[in-house]
């Protein structure tokens, strides 16, 4: 019999809810069947911890005296976007410091950037804020140089436009005769390694492949605190090829998420450096999935064997959109440490931490069992496979010709 969000929350409040992780759900369905599992289990918890580039934080640091309307600002020398209001800033995870050597000596090390600023704030460390302004009658001040820390800020919330990618590429270097330095890590020549980045069977959107429960307003684990999904993520692409079980065969859905930085912990918000590429932020994210019916029970029992990812060449195929995937491989194969491409054994590495994904799913399970975390019914579901929504590439239009045509 189908369940409702209200019934499940009643059981959570009463301390009676049956909560399992997405790993445990595999065994439950295997042992008892989908029908019984749908009856028994109320909530399945998921988790993922990986570099998630499209991340950042809004902060409001309070008005200075005399007042300043910040025009340009830097946090530990990392540029923060100030084109909002007087003392609101957005610090993006991949922003690099003003005087970073970047890739001038390739590969650059990218030791510090926006993701590290966010981690420093979460850790409670002092961060140097420098700002300049042009001065107005109501905001006369033109310069600011001060230490700030998280506790002293009015608001600080993580606001990530694209996280929790539903499946992703397996990156290889098929054509360059040197190592290449990518956002998927260092890729050695002649298919020297294959790097992937997904928690597979524990990953949130791979357990709700058609977005039956995850939508706007879904309460989630974000950075060690409670956060929310607030929109589909950028590049959300639900209309991709799927397996018979409904699981996308490559990158598909994404989430925009938000949460209070002041409640988060450094264990789950970590600045990271990607050699020769840049900086990013590793984000811990987990989503509880209510087992409303048998379909959802079946979805949440998805196994690494059932999820495949495309093998993509990052020397030519990805940067120049030259060719399609070199094949598909399952997460079960990837996790053995070796896959086969063109008859060749290729060692694998992951940028997504599976042990940390397990820890998130387990933590979320404990929160729910303790009655500290209730499920929220989304205000709207995300566009799904039938929406017709696709992810477009840029169609460049030559500017000079158009200007001429307009007269």
């Amino acid at each position: 019999m189908p369940k409702t969000y209200e019934q499940i929350n009643e059981r959570i409040r009463a301390g009676e809810a049956v909560v399992v992780t997405a790993e445990e759900m595999i065994d439950t369905v295997e042992e008892n069947g989908v029908e019984a599992a749908a009856e028994q289990v109320d909530v399945v918890t998921t988790g993922t911890f990986a570099p998630m580039c499209s991340s950042g934080a809004f902060i409001n640091f309070g008005h200075a005296n005399p007042r300043i309307k910040v025009q340009k600002a830097w946090l530990n020398d990392v540029n923060a976007y100030a084109g909002l209001a007087a003392v609101d800033l957005y610090i993006g995870a991949t922003e690099v410091p003003e005087h970073d050597p970047l890739n001038r000596e390739h590969p650059g090390e990218f030791r510090y950037g926006g993701g590290h600023v966010i981690e420093d704030l979460v850790a409670g460390r002092d961060v140097r804020l420098r700002a300049v302004a042009y001065g107005t009658d109501c905001y006369p001040r033109r310069e600011l140089d001060t230490w700030i820390r998280l506790d002293d800020l009015n608001e600080a919330f993580l606001c990530n436009p694209r996280n929790a990618y539903q499946n992703y590429n397996v990156a290889v270097n098929a054509h360059a005769d040197r190592p290449i330095y990518t956002y998927m890590g260092v890729l050695k020549p002649e298919l020297g390694n294959a790097n992937y980045c997904s928690a597979g069977q524990l990953s949130p959107l791979l357990n709700d492949p058609l977005y039956r429960t995850i939508g706007i307003g879904t309460r989630i684990f974000l950075g060690g605190a409670q956060g929310y999904v607030f929109w589909q993520g950028t590049q959300h692409n639900p209309t991709v090829d799927r397996t018979e079980g409904g699981v996308p065969r490559g990158g598909a859905g994404t989430l925009s998420v938000v949460g209070d930085l002041k409640q988060m912990s450094q264990r789950w918000i970590r600045g990271v450096s990607l050699y020769g590429y840049g900086v990013s932020l590793s984000v811990g994210l987990g989503i509880p999935i209510p087992v409303l019916n048998e379909e959802i029970a079946r979805f949440t029992a998805v196994r690494d064997e059932d999820i495949v990812a495309p093998i993509v060449d990052y020397s030519r195929g990805y940067p120049y959109s030259e060719s399609g995937p070199l094949g598909h491989v399952s997460y079960a194969q990837l996790k053995t440490g070796e896959i086969e491409i063109d008859g060749r054994a290729v060692p694998t590495a992951s940028l997504s931490s599976y042990p940390r994904a397990q820890e998130i799913a387990q933590t979320l399970k404990e929160w729910i069992q303790a009655g500290q975390f209730l499920l929220s019914r989304p205000a709207e579901l995300l566009p799904s496979a039938e929406s017709g929504l696709t992810f477009k590439s840029l169609r460049e239009r030559p500017v000079e010709e158009e200007v001429a045509a307009r007269g």
């Binding site: 911890f49 990986a50 570099p51 590969p107 090390e109 030791r111 890590g185 260092v186 050695k188 002649e190 020297g192 390694n193 294959a194 790097n195 970590r270 600045g271 990271v272 450096s273 990607l274 050699y275 990013s280 590793s282 996790k335 053995t336 440490g337 060749r344 054994a345 060692p347 694998t348 590495a349 992951s350 940028l351 997504s352 931490s353 599976y354 042990p355 940390r356």
Partner: protein, 135 residues
Amino acid sequence: MAKARVVFHYPRALIDAPIASRVARDFDLEFNILRANITPDSQGLLVLELSGDPQALSDALEWAGEQGVAVQPLERDVVRDDDLCTQCGACVTICPTAALSRDPRTQEVGFDPEECVACELCVPACPPHAMTVAF
């Protein structure tokens, strides 16, 4: 009499070349292979302890460098800060000796200092800066 512990990193093209034996023979050095890792598919790595006449030793290392071998003196340790490591595993295919490896069952990333030759390739490749050089 001088002694040096060095790591030879061979590019793929040199894997069949008798570099180590020529270093020993042509320069009259004693050599002890501490570790070797050469497979046809990948780059080669040889950890050697060399001893002999100081001038011959330095000439031998220069000669090996001219042949295209990257010669790395082995005098520092690489250490892992377990508090900083996030257990992602980005390092495991960078490490030439499998000192960094992932357990296929648990997906946990282990570091075995005994296997480490301090080539330092993992240091800039570790996203959360968990691998550092200790002098």
